[in-house]
């Protein structure tokens, strides 16, 4: 029952609404293109 409760709490926690305008950071790779992509 503890495990179930913990999972339930965690699930609740994940549902925490993100602040308006939240932009996830760009993935670390691949990096920016300096000239053009072929």
């Amino acid at each position: 029952s503890v495990a179930k409760r913990a999972v339930a709490e965690a699930a609740q926690h994940d549902k925490v609404p993100r602040p308006v305008g939240f932009v996830p950071p760009p993935p670390p790779c691949p990096g920016k293109i300096r000239h053009f992509d072929i």
Binding site: P30, K32, I33, H35
Partner: protein
């Protein structure tokens, strides 16, 4: 509590860019053919800590060919990347570096270069001439005619072909062959070469003088040949790269003429 592992390096982090710059300088400094390459994108980076101030880094780099021949003394920063319409050439490189006390050293590198697909070019620029194989008959004829034409008119040293860098052929509206090739000065004047071309050999290492030529041969509607050669002058070889293994120097057999 053990220190939390540092966040993985991002491909655009300053440290990643510094590692990529060291890798690109190494690749250009140890390449033996064609043109210098510039960084286009850091595809991936992986760091394996070895101890304090000692990391092994694995880089996956996307490079683009520049218009500077590998032998040119022009600094890479002044070399423009060949445009898409000129039929760009891409290099994919995997590089292993060590960063020890803040200094990068390349432990291994493996690169593969390939021209952009003809379909991509034609899609965007239907009339752009495309790269052709370097042993295309028309290309070989153009290089031979251009070098002979140059040597017949110069009052300087007789030049020998080192390698053909790239070649394009356009068929419409005119039939035009455009080639670029690397040359080396020999121990003959052009006049002496007329008497005995076999005796004309590339200058020895401590006097070497390399250069680069571009030639345009119009075949139709009428024949016309333009050739322009620029010699770099003697370059003092970098201490860690003996001249004979200098990039771009592919010594053809002594006496092997362009014909």
């Amino acid at each position: 509590v053990p220190a939390a592992p540092s966040a993985p390096l991002g491909c655009d982090d300053p440290e990643s860019e510094a590692a990529a710059e060291a890798a690109v300088n190494y690749i250009n400094g140890h390449s033996h053919h064609g043109y210098k390459f510039a960084l286009n994108r850091i595809e991936d980076i992986r760091v394996v800590p070895q101890g304090p101030n000692n990391d092994i880094m694995f880089l996956e780099l996307d490079l683009l060919e520049t218009t500077c021949p590998i032998l040119s003394p022009t600094p890479l920063a002044n070399c423009s990347v060949r445009s898409f319409a000129e039929h760009a050439v891409e290099g994919d490189c995997d590089v292993k570096l060590q960063k020890l006390d803040g200094t990068f050293s390349v432990l291994a590198s493996k690169c593969h270069s390939h021209a952009d697909s003809a379909e991509d070019i034609v899609k965007i620029c239907p009339d752009c001439p495309l790269l052709v194989s370097l042993n295309n008959t028309e290309v070989l004829e153009t290089v031979s005619a251009a070098l002979n034409d140059y040597n017949s008119k110069t009052t300087d040293s007789y030049l020998r072909l080192l390698e053909i860098g790239r070649a394009k052929i356009q068929f419409h509206p005119a039939h035009v062959v455009v080639t670029e090739f690397a040359v080396g000065a020999t121990n003959c004047t052009a006049e002496q070469a007329k008497a005995n071309v076999e005796a004309c050999q590339l200058l020895p290492e401590d006097q070497s003088n390399f250069g680069f030529c571009t030639a345009t041969m119009v075949k139709r509607p009428s024949q016309d040949l333009k050739v322009d050669c620029q010699l770099y002058g003697h370059q003092v070889p970098a201490p860690d790269i003996p001249l004979l293994s200098r990039p771009g120097v592919t010594y053809i057999h002594p006496g092997h003429d362009t014909s």
